[in-house]
């Protein structure tokens, strides 16, 4: 059964200059136990999608269209109280800023116990036992449960957040740049562990990152986002080794590879469009090496380039 089905999702932020359409017409689905990566540069709307899935958009943000079906239930139709019960029990989140995601004046263990007793009919002592189990699961010494966040290293904080995300055995975890603040070695360990835990507990993961090489390593499916739209989606190998959309090609070319030949990294010239203005044609056309006059005027359509590999471009 499909775990998460996002249909034609649009999200806008009310700003002083008007409605900023941060996400427009994004559709993807995720089967239970599978992982989907969302990649794109800063401001492309990937974090906004993550927050919207949690029902945690800031006060000036709202979903302007589309549906988010979790196990067949439309999250948009839930009341605030029903949504509160969904959070962390069915959908948990691993945060972008893990360094500051823990409350500095509360013991780490207490913050996890709190997440458990809020959603499960268990006593604090039982919750604590579960937290001890979680610590072992993510490879952290159990005696550190009663430490404060500042006594943890960056990697430990990240592990603690992962352990916390697993606390209620959710079916879906949204991991927003979970390893960005860590050094490469710790990053790799944590990615491996995340992958193992995902298989062990059959969790669906939406992995949000700006780094397409990391996403390709962890996820089965990759969705590439540009200026609030999904522009290419397909299997990880397909998208990473055979990118079709000019933006994805440029994105892959802008990251170094360790094993491949030494070639110059190519930055993408120009800037993404300002999303406050309505855009008629292709959003990438101003930066696209292959753009034609028609690209500016016509709304691009989805093309299937291979089985399960789709591109939002009329010229690929």
């Amino acid at each position: 059964m499909t775990l998460l089905d996002v249909q034609n999702l649009s999200i806008g932020y009310q700003t002083a200059e008007g409605l900023l359409q941060a996400v427009e017409g994004v559709s993807f689905s995720l089967e239970a136990g599978q992982s989907l990566g969302l990649v794109g540069e800063s401001g492309c709307g990937k974090t906004t999608i993550g927050m919207a899935l949690m029902g945690l958009l800031p006060p000036n943000g709202r979903i302007t269209g589309g549906h988010v079906l979790l196990n067949g239930r439309d999250l948009r139709e839930l009341t605030e109280e029903e949504m509160r019960q969904v959070r962390w029990k069915e959908v948990a989140m691993i945060f972008q800023a893990a360094m500051n995601a823990l409350n500095p004046v509360q013991r780490v263990g207490d913050q996890m116990i709190e997440a458990i007793v809020e959603h499960q009919p268990v006593s604090k002592a039982q919750a604590r036992q579960r937290v001890e189990g979680l610590y072992q699961l993510v490879g952290m010494p159990v005696e550190r449960i009663d430490d404060y966040p500042h006594q943890y290293s960056g990697g430990m904080k990240q592990r603690a957040i992962i352990a916390m995300a697993l606390a209620n055995k959710p079916k879906l975890i949204i991991a927003d740049e979970p390893t960005t603040a860590l050094d490469v070695i710790v990053q790799d360990q944590i990615l491996q562990e995340t992958k193992n835990l995902q298989h062990e507990f059959n969790i669906g993961i939406i992995f949000i990152s700006h780094d397409i090489s990391i996403v390709a390593e962890v996820c089965q499916t990759i969705g590439v986002m540009y200026a609030g739209q999904l522009v290419e989606i397909g299997g990880a190998e397909q998208v990473f080794y055979d990118p079709r959309h000019p933006y994805t090609k440029a994105l892959v070319a802008s990251f170094p590879t360790l094993a491949g030949e030494r070639k110059e990294l190519k930055p993408i010239p120009g800037e993404p469009p300002h999303l406050i203005n309505a855009i008629m044609g292709c959003r990438f056309c101003d930066r696209c090496p292959r753009s034609e006059a028609q690209c500016k005027l016509d709304r691009p359509a989805w093309q299937q380039v291979a089985a399960g590999h789709h591109v939002l471009c009329d010229h690929c």
Binding site: L56, R84, R87, K89, P104, A115
Partner: protein, 323 residues
Amino acid sequence: MKRFIIKRMAQVVVVLFLILTVLFVLFRLAPGDPVERMVDPNLTLEEAEHLVEQLGLKEPILTQYGIYLKNFAMGHFGHSFHYGQPVAEVIWEKLPNTILLFTTAVILAALVGVSWGKIAAWSKGKWKDLAFTVAALVTHTLFLPWLALLLVWFFGYRLEWFPITGMMSEEVWLDPDTAWWQKAWDVGYHMMLPLLTLFLIHFGSYLLVMRSSMLDTLKEDYIVTARAKGLSEKAIRNRHAAPNAMLPVVTSVGLSLAFSINGGALTETVFSWPGIGRELVFAVSHNDYPLAQACFLLIATVVLFSNVVVDVLYAYLDPRIRY
């Protein structure tokens, strides 16, 4: 932590010594004859001579300084001219009254300021926020003696709800049949107006500090985490936001307590509350030098110790702070 407290105590002793020295110099630099100031002018010549001898005022200045330090170290603060009692006795008699009034006022103001500041920040931009903020700004900027007189006029004179002077009624305290709770009630009844004055002046600043600190805290990532965990709004506010936002209020409360003696002087004077602040004003205006000197020293001591208490409390509230 233990080492930190010992270190801070050592600092307090050093600073107190410096303050004693400054006081010694100031009282001798003041125009006129020190003998005239240190010895009660109402005494007979013989008695005065004797006292001058006793106080060591005929010794060279350095010896005088030594005697002065020794007296303070041993707790001899001299005799008050006005009361004819040892200064220490006068102070011990008045100090609890000041503590009772001021601590009660500051604690009440802090409780109300913190909880209302919390609510104001939580409903930022709504009518509750506006009402609390305006109330805080108005009361906080009022001129204390004016407010005190206004309260005396309205509640004491026009409505006749509360007594306007003193701390207790004679008929209650002289009656041997009065139970302790009747006495306590009587003191509380007398305390209402000065308490209200101090409360009104103080709660606004706590409210404003708490509100802005809370607004900063609400932008923190761990608040998003708390929300993502599916906690109720109340739990997010009280368990995650408020304990972090409280920290600056602690400093503010500590400083108010530090300045309780001189800060309470105006209130105590207006309401004839028999406390240290009023005593200080009285001692200065009536040239009761030994009493004034001891009051100044007491102020310095209270300020220094409040700072130590705030530091220790901070480490207790914020685990990131370790000494």
